[in-house]
């Protein structure tokens, strides 16, 4: 697309004063204290130390977001920490409870599989048609099948999703951090030409897995295609098929989470494969927050398109002044735009009228969710490390 003449862009916003940034951070400080130090938690020094470190980490990142007016790099620090520390705490707890990372069929039938949000979209059809939740997991610490507990978890996810849309994938998902970390390592991408049709991959996986889950009454994605089985719980293989399942998990993890993000500087698992991400995209239509391109300022330089880690901007969408439906609201395009044409936006309001206000409203909600889900996971990971160090 040819670049176009337009009005000069505004100068980048000067950093906020520390006092003002601190004032804006106060609600997050209060929320962190509530989440990490409520009664009944932190029974030993390790968990207390981990909670303190996590609370400090989360509030410091938010403070920097407020001070610098940038979002992406600070959010990325949190997200990579979440992605790396999640397997640490998770595997430790698995080994404590079960003695192994492998999950045998007896555990599944007993409903002692730890709950995961990934199969939520594939649960809906069987649940709607048969009132059966095919995911055999539980969120109860004692284990045991609990459809009600899973339903409550789904309800919590739904409430947050209605507000933030696909922001879930940038502020709560504990799987995307590893690939975001891998994508951050190289200075430049080695693979540049990516067929845009692969963007439809997550929708295809979603369609196929939803239909197969209904046909076979099993969480087909968890059993055959989840790359993160490689770093969480794997199939306790007792025959050749189980071995093949584990090989698939490891190959998908190595390809989509390690190698391709390194080569492309993109979150390839999220962009090309994750069915949950596709499902979350639908809620971007409902969420009140979105990212828009101010056409008056945009010079069609496509810097935002290159910066997007999720292939959620195309030349056509930029020309329309909006992102694609798959936008994860990570803020990379907004921070990258030299003319401040990419802006946070609240639906129903004029684009670029008060983008910082929209950003603040989004970030308070998103960071509260990040602390709620991600913060506790980070604290658990740190506590596990302290356990081994001490």
């Amino acid at each position: 697309m040819a670049t176009k003449a337009c009005t000069p862009g505004p100068a980048p916003a000067a950093p906020r004063s520390s006092v003002r940034a601190l004032m804006l951070t106060l609600p997050i400080v209060v929320w962190s204290l509530l989440m990490f130090f409520h009664p009944g938690t932190n029974t030993d020094w390790r968990s207390r130390t981990a909670a303190a470190i996590t609370a400090l980490f989360m509030t410091a990142l938010f403070f920097m977001m407020m001070r610098t007016h940038t979002t992406y790099r600070w959010r990325r620090l949190f997200f990579v920490a979440l992605g790396v520390l999640f397997p640490v705490g998770f595997i430790y707890n698995l080994v404590l409870a079960r003695g192994t990372m492998g999950i045998p069929v007896e555990e599944m039938i007993a409903g002692r599989t730890p709950f995961c949000f990934m199969p939520i979209p594939t649960l809906i059809l069987p649940a709607a048609l048969t009132r059966t939740i095919v995911f055999p997991g539980s969120i109860l610490s004692a284990g045991g099948a609990s459809s009600h507990a899973i339903a409550a978890m789904v309800g919590l996810w739904l409430a947050l999703t209605l507000v933030l849309g696909k922001g879930w994938c940038s502020y709560a998902c504990f799987f995307g951090g590893i690939e975001e970390g891998m994508a951050a390592i190289p200075a430049r991408p080695r693979l540049r030409k990516l067929d845009p049709r692969w963007r439809y991959g997550p929708w295809a996986v979603l369609l196929a897995m939803a239909l197969l889950s209904l046909a076979l009454f099993e969480p087909a994605y968890c059993m055959w295609l989840c790359p993160f089985k490689a770093v969480t719980e794997y199939v306790a293989a007792r025959n050749l098929v189980g071995l093949i399942q584990n090989v698939i998990f490891v190959l998908l993890f190595a390809g989509l989470v390690i190698v391709l993000p390194f080569l492309t500087k993109k979150r390839t698992q999220c962009s090309y494969f994750c069915p949950f991400g596709a499902f979350q995209s639908i809620f971007n239509k409902i969420s009140i927050f979105d990212v828009r391109i101010d056409q008056a300022r945009c010079k069609s330089c496509n810097i935002c398109q290159n910066a997007c880690p999720n292939l959620s901007l195309s030349k056509e969408s930029i020309a329309r002044g909006e992102t694609l439906i798959s936008c994860m609201k990570c803020g990379a395009c907004i921070d990258a735009c030299p003319r401040q044409a990419a802006v946070w936006h609240i639906k129903g309001t004029q684009v670029a009228l008060k983008p910082e206000r929209a950003r603040l409203m989004f970030l308070y909600a998103a960071w509260a969710m990040a602390i709620l889900f991600g913060g506790s996971i980070i604290a658990q990971g740190i506590a596990t490390i302290l356990h081994f160090l001490a």
Binding site: M108, L129, Y200, A204, L207, A208, L211, L212, A220
Partner: protein, 224 residues
Amino acid sequence: MAPPVLFSEALALGLASGPACIAACGPVLVPSLLTQQAGFRPHARYLAAFLSARLLGYLLFAIAVWELGALASMLPALHMLPRAFLMGAVNILLACVLLWYAYSARHACGQSCSGSKLVNIGATTSHRAAGAVALGLLTGLSLCPPFVAAGVRAAQLPGVVQALLFFTLFFVGTSVWFVPFLGLGCLVRNQAVVTVARMAMVLIALYYLALGIAMLMEKKAYGY
């Protein structure tokens, strides 16, 4: 002649089994319908071809089970090796047709489709019907639980004609549940929808392929 109550039973069994049938056929039918042109009539034609072939599969099965039933009880026969072999072969064939379907639908979006054999979006009806017939026949031969239940009942009937009639009514009962699939005709067709459908077909085909090979090797489908 079998009493009418028996055929009411066939119809009721079909109606009651409908959700299981659409669940079993959904992975095959939904992506293939999404590669068709939008609109009620193309979908109705496709579904008619699919269901007709499925009926043929049912009737073939009815003849087979009645012959088996005349010799012995249905259940031991179904637990013999040929069942696993048959299902393995059907799954592999289904996977092959789906893969070919996905390949053939590559020109579904406004380009020439002269190269396709099974699927030919926007071209003659006969070409489109071939894919629907192949998939309908193969899904019609799948031994899902209600299908086996109907087979057991048909095997107990005194004549092959009654068995055929029983399966036809069972088919009618299940087919009612397929009517909502016509609603997919309302969805817009563009490159995104067709590409998603093709990719989904490949994934589903790979799944059936793995399942089929596991059955042929007499392995359990799950690693647990």
